[in-house]
Symmetry: C2
């Protein structure tokens, strides 16, 4: 009954030992035929081992391999919020590239809580991942800032590779996104099509990505001749609801002649569009809206959203390649962005 090895109800996975015995060879030979880098096994033996493995439904224990080899095939990915299209697109890129390299991805969500992030990094470190990728910036002035840096540094000292995506807080390898330049280009184009009076909805205090985008936008306006009063810069959560609230605030303040509202990311911009509509106004016509990222959904909202395209999946891919020491990934410089004008900013004829 236990003879066949198929469908038996053993409750513990077959071990390499079992396979070796079943094949009538030594543990070493079994190991070599199943994994060994340089093939140096008699074909006859090899076949016997492979057969035995199939018969016993053998699956190599990755943990054991990791312990023995002193290295894993794991990549750790930390994002703020998995359901956010910005992060899920990045994650898709990381996973795709990891799969390509036959690596396994473990994923965790910080939920934008710095302490949580630190805790997660600590836990994930235990996995001895080859690479650790962090996406989603945290407040610049944060008490746990130093601790995180220390933790990551320690991880690197012990052989790991840290890669940050679009956050320039630390001194680690980073996939840099042209946040400032992209926003500046957007501002110029918007002024170019007639807009003059702007407002901005940005993220919480000190969010680097948001700050860079706003700064770039400001610079662009300054150069091209648009105006952005300080009281027209509102802070809100870096989420869809944050964008909604921010826009509602602006509208409640009377809009004050504002022609276009720039939200620091698309998720917020989409929320802003809905706020405009819920206020009985027509987005695009009564007030124009622009975002940043070009997440998939923005071409399906109405009016389609003007934004700055960031190749999100590519960001994820690049992050992993960078961590793995891919020459090209590091030499490519900042990730290019591109202004995409759509119907949410139809332009103004003056």
């Amino acid at each position: 009954m236990t003879e066949t090895g198929i469908g038996t109800s053993r409750s513990t996975p077959a071990t390499l030992h079992d396979v070796a015995r079943e094949a009538g060879v030594s543990l070493a030979t079994a190991s070599r035929s199943l994994n060994g880098s340089t093939r140096k096994v008699n074909d006859e033996y090899r076949k016997r081992v492979l057969d035995a493995a199939a018969r016993l439904d053998y699956s190599p224990n990755l943990s054991a391999q990791a312990v023995a080899r002193g290295t894993t095939t794991t990549v750790a990915l930390l994002v703020a919020d998995i359901a956010d299209p910005y992060f899920s697109s990045i994650a898709a890129g990381v996973v795709a590239e990891a799969d390509h390299e036959r690596l396994i991805v473990t994923m965790a969500a910080t939920e934008r809580d710095p302490e949580r992030e630190l805790e997660l990094v600590r836990t994930l470190r235990g996995q001895r991942p080859r690479v650790m990728i962090l996406a989603g910036s945290r407040p610049t002035s944060d008490p746990t800032e130093g601790a995180l840096g220390e933790e990551l540094a320690a991880y690197e000292r012990s052989g790991g590779r840290v890669v940050l995506i679009s956050r320039n807080e630390f001194d680690f390898r980073t996939v840099i996104v042209e946040n400032t330049a992209g926003a500046e280009a957007l501002a110029r184009e918007l002024v170019g099509i007639g807009y003059r009076r702007f407002a901005v909805i940005t993220g919480g205090e000190g969010l680097r990505t948001a700050a860079d985008r706003v700064e770039g936008f400001r610079a662009g306006l300054a150069a091209a001749g648009g105006t952005l009063d300080d009281e027209h810069v509102v802070r809100a959560a870096f989420t869809r609801d944050g964008g909604y609230d921010g826009m509602r605030q602006l509208i409640e303040s009377g809009l004050d002649g504002i022609e276009l509202v720039f939200a620091a990311n698309d998720v917020m911009a989409v929320g802003a569009l809905s706020a405009v509509r819920d206020a009985g106004l027509t987005p695009g016509t009564d007030v124009a809206v622009a975002g940043f990222d070009d997440i998939p959904t923005v071409r399906d909202v109405t009016p389609a959203l003007t934004t700055v395209r960031v190749p999100l999946e590519e960001l994820g891919r690049r992050a992993l390649r960078l961590a793995l020491g891919d020459e090209s990934a590091s030499s490519e410089g900042a990730v290019r962005t591109e202004v995409v004008l759509r119907e949410s900013t139809p332009g103004i004829t003056r």
Copy 2:
């Protein structure tokens, strides 16, 4: 120079052995103070160990623990496409619940390729995850169907727990979604507000989820008095672009008196809305559209989409709880859905 243990540039992580030596205690004591379940360590020793660990920046090697304990703290999650809001929402739920249970999630994407899925299950099995969660159904008639089932069965025999989300192909624990009932209720309500002539955009041949929804919709129409001709059921990819193409086909065929198009999921429905608009028609007015899932973005498209709400994050949470043997999760029955009428189906007065 190496004395302090801080910031030294050793290239290999501190081991429990190092900590024990540094603290002047035995390996076992170190292990017990750092991890041991039942606290049975002299406070003095305990403190010394903790200090030493901190000084050496010790991080327990999870692989080694897994080997020694014979069990991991890993959960494996397989989805079709991480960037798809349906799956990323589910993933967010799984990750949240896993975090709650102090479990680590490894994630992979099948990209809707059955062979890939099989391959991934094989690889992931090597991790000896406590749980394996599969979301996203595959074609019902698939050559690798049997192999997948065998692989999963083998995994369960060796102590793992498989949970399927909304796919009733196999005989494993499953988080069942009221796909049929939900679609049926939707159909009834739509007929209730005046619609009579329907069309459907569904997924590829044999996709279970899609098939169930269409079937339910049909049943609802039959009961309430709506009509759905076979030539008005179009198949397309289960994606945004699929929905777009499907709707375009319908429009090109002249719409033929169709008043409302039901897309088998929201992502497709959103694409369909854009197709309507691109054809110069007004969704909601010229042709109504309804979807299924209630992904976050559908309340921000215009007109806001009528759909059947599925608590996606909850699906992920339930899946994990079910796998972990949570009583309540298994006794709760199918996950409830709820029809949500919005502006994309304003109703018809006859």
